[in-house]
Each structure stands twice: as C-alpha cells, then as structure tokens.
C-alpha cells in the first residue's frame, strides 16, 4: 500500500505564512531569527518567514562547528541569498570545544547535544539583538521520533513546519523554490563526515512517514499497520520511539500541591489577550 502524503502547497503556504505573521506581530514584534544549517527544514522555515514578514525582517544565522561541512555553509548561504534575508555567521567551536575537551570519552550524541544547545543560546541571544522571535525548524517526523535535542533544536518561539512530515517538507520546499542542492541532498545533522539521518535512524524518511501518517493522523492500530504492509518489527520500533520521546514534546511536569497549578488547571493560550 502506497500512501499519498501530498499536500496542496499553495494552501499550506498561505496558512503557514499567515501563522508566522500572526504569531510574530501580535506579540509586538516584526522580525524573526532562524538558525540556517544548510538543510531543508531550516531552509523552508526561512522561506516561509521571509514571505510572511518580508526578507529584511529575517535574520538567518549560520553557526558552524569546526567539523561542519563546507557544503552546509554554502547551501545556507545560497538559501539566504535566494530568499533575500540577512545572514550572519557565528562559529560555535569556541563555545563547545572547552566542554568537549573536559572529557576524552565524550560520545557523538553528547557532542551533538552540546552543539544544538550552543546554537540555541546564540539564537536566543541574537533574538534580543535583532528584536526578532526565534522560528523553529523541527518537522513532524523528527518531533514524533524524538530525533531532536531537548532545549536545543527544539527550542523556538513558534514552529511553522512542525505539522509537516519530512516528505511534505520536501514537497513544499520544491514549491517554494528552495535551492535544489538543499532539497536533494541526504538529510544530515552534520556532526561528522558522512553522517546521515537515515543511516542513523535505520530507515528512510519516505518509509517512516508513511507509517507515521497511518499511526498518528489516521489512528491506525498496530494490527492495521501490519495489514497495510508494514513489518511488525518496524511498527513496534517506531511506536516505541514515539512513546519513549514523549517527554521531549512536553513541558516538564510540575508536582501538584495547590488548588491551581500551572500546566493542569491554570489554562490560558499563549495568545492570551492578543
């Protein structure tokens, strides 16, 4: 069974640019800050923000580490140029290297988390300098799989692409004229040479998006997914990833003591009063 995840890109574009404009301007801001990695997710967020707010109101920040590939830097530059946004570059090596050097046994996962959190610090600092809100770049696939760093790449003021699966991000990116080299290259966190998301995850985005769509959007049971042609092992593995990473999708639970507790019975939208 081949599931069609195609979206009407013009409609998505209209809703998402409207969302960015609304959420940025209702809080009294006019500008946005985006970490531009050279990958497709941040390129799409950048394109949407530029269209929503005007390119002059978007600051794209490149934050390379010493091992970041030159392709990533070039692709980020191409993206910023394509959409006419301001671009700045701040190296994170001097920030994270002293921490990395503290422990000779540091793992790649820890290094990746350090880099993601260093970038978060810079984005929020530039948010203050540029008077812009940080626009998120996490897509639905990676949020569901927990393929993210808590308080790192997950940190943002608003996320326009978090309800789009990776394959839908690709479709919308093509429609919005994101540079071809960005759309076509293998997705990577770019932590070491030759690293790819799909190599690390053990399956392709194309495959997992189909399954996630059935499990999440269409509310298929495990049995329904197997009947639809997915292996029991794959379904179990993905479901377990979703369950284990639920904590990454939530604010930390507050231990309830009083009659009214933040998170449980103190309920207001973020857009309260605006």
């Amino acid at each position: 069974m081949r599931i069609d995840l195609s979206i009407h890109t013009e409609l998505a574009r209209k809703i998402l640019t409207g969302f960015i404009r609304s959420e940025v301007t209702r809080t009294g801001f006019t500008r946005a800050v985006i970490g531009l990695s050279g990958g497709i997710d941040s390129a799409l967020s950048c394109a949407l923000a530029a269209e929503a707010l005007g390119p002059g109101n978007v600051l794209a920040l490149r934050m390379p580490y010493q091992t970041s590939s030159s392709d990533s830097l070039e692709d980020a530059e191409k993206t910023a140029a394509r959409f006419g946004v301001r671009m700045e570059t701040i190296e994170i090596t001097p920030m994270v290297q002293p921490i990395i050097q503290l422990d000779p046994h540091i793992t790649n996962v820890r290094k990746g988390n350090l880099m993601a959190r260093a970038r978060m610090i810079l984005l929020y600092d530039q948010s203050e300098v540029f008077h812009g809100l940080v626009v998120g770049t996490s897509n639905k696939t990676e949020i569901l799989l927990g393929y993210t760093t808590l308080w790192g790449d997950m940190a943002s003021a608003l996320n326009p692409i978090g309800d789009l699966y990776k394959t839908q991000v690709r479709q919308l990116s093509r429609a919005m004229d994101v540079p071809r080299s960005v759309v076509e290259k293998a997705p990577s966190a770019d932590l070491w040479l030759g690293q790819t998301d799909e190599g690390e995850l053990g399956f392709t985005y194309e495959e997992v998006d189909q399954l996630l769509y059935l499990l999440v959007d269409r509310r298929y049971s495990v049995g329904d997914c197997v009947a639809a042609g997915f292996s029991q092992e794959f379904v179990d593995q993905v479901l377990e990833r979703i369950r284990r990473s639920q904590y990454k999708r939530m604010m930390p639970p507050i231990a309830k003591l009083s009659n009214r507790t933040i998170g449980y019975d103190f309920l207001y939208l973020r857009d309260w009063g605006t």
Binding site: H8, L11, F266
Partner: protein
Amino acid sequence: MQINLALAQIATKLGNVQANLEKHLDYIHQAEAQRADLVVFPELSLTGYILQDLVSTVSHKPAADDPVFGPLLKASQNLDLVVGFVDEDPRHRFYIASAYLSGGRVLHVHHKVYLPTYALFDEGRFFARGDSIRAFDTRFGRMGMLICEDFWHASPPYLLWLDGADVLVFSSASPGRGLNEHAKLESAWWVENVNQSYANLFTSFVVHSNRVGYEDGLNFWGAATVFDPRGERLAHGPYFEEALTMTTLDLNQIRRTRSRLPLMRDERADLVHKELTRILSK
C-alpha cells in the same frame, strides 16, 4: 421581500472584549454604509474562541445596561445584528451564545447545544450545554440560529425547520484542519457541503459566518457562505482573510422552490415523533 445581508468574518483578540467590540462597531458601520439590513458575526465574535480559564472574565449580559451590549443594541436601531458572546445565567453557568439584536431589543439568544469535547476541542470542560432549539420571529420572517457543532448534528437544523425557520443562521469558529492535496481543507469542505445540503433538504436559506485569524497554532478559515432554498450558492467570502461579504436574499425564492419541491408540506413530523418515542423507549 429581500434581506441585504452582510457576513462579517473577523479575527478576534483572545479575551479582549473591548477591542472586539470596537471591531464589531467598525464592521457594523461599514455594513450600514452598504445598506445592510442584517450583519452576522461568527461564533464567540466578542471574545475569541479558545478561552479556557478566561471564560468567567469575558461573559456579558445581553441587555441595554451592559457596557458591551449597550452600544450593540444602540447600533441595532438601524440594522439587525447577530453576535457571538459568552452568556452567564443567574446560577453562573456559562454558555457559548449567539444573540439576535433588532430595533434596540434582544429578539433571541441561542445557547450552543452541542459542545465538542474531543480531539482539539475542549468546550464541555468550560461551558454548560444549552437546552433548547427554537425558531424566532424577525422583521424578515422566522429564523433560527445554531453554533458550529450544533449543525454537525442533523437534528438541530431539522427542529428549526419544523419550528418554522425559513432562514437558518449559522455561526462558527471552525479551526482549519485536514490539509491534503486538495485546495480546500477537509474541515472547510465538510462545512460547505453540509450547509449546501441543509439548504437543499430544508428548501431554506442557510447563512454561515465563520471567523478568521489564528489562536496559537490554530487557523480559522473564514469563507462565509449563503445558500438559497435551491442549494445555489449566493455568496462566498474569502478564505483566511477578514472580509465583509454582502449579498441579497430574495425571500420569494422560498415560495418558488417549495411550489416545485414540497418537502416541507410532505414532512411527517408525527411519524418521526412516533419512531423516536419507540427508539428512545428501548
């Protein structure tokens, strides 16, 4: 007889009733300038939609001495108004409500009967359910009002039809969802189809006003519509943008359609009653 109808699809400020009132008065003035007889605002147009703990702070009494309804009732001296608000009864139950204002008086208040409390909706947690579905007389004939989920159930429009309503006035704050390859969201597709079907089935006018704007990540899609008793679409507001959509309802169309298609005449409410009694007594 004709109604010059104005559908005001506005974005609201969440919990800021004063700001929303000012927008209402602005749209009412625009409608007046275009010689409107009736302006229909969306669900909870004076308060915003996802109110949660704001509910008790935004309720207003539909009466002349109320600071929000005072100016609206005054405006209703010149043209009729349908507005969405939070109503509070004397026992301090809060309702999602629509009020029909005309000639400085409140002609009717409808309390939302079906409160969606599933998926992205949580209305039943914060609001009391209305317990009546009544048509009412206006200077343009008999009408009935429903709010959003009310008309996702077939019985409320049916009851209004039996109670004599020839113009069904629906209001919504419908969150857009179900993006797929089509140019219309699933939620918009559903609502428009259903409203057109009601117009056909009940050989009546079906008027729908839906809000626009965003609340956190939710979008509201707008696209106010009017269908005539033949199911023909008379008006269609833009998607996602604020707009005042004007159209004229030729009420004589009701007679012409029902002369050809006497569904109203042949409706067997007594049979419905008998079978309902049997089904409910099981």
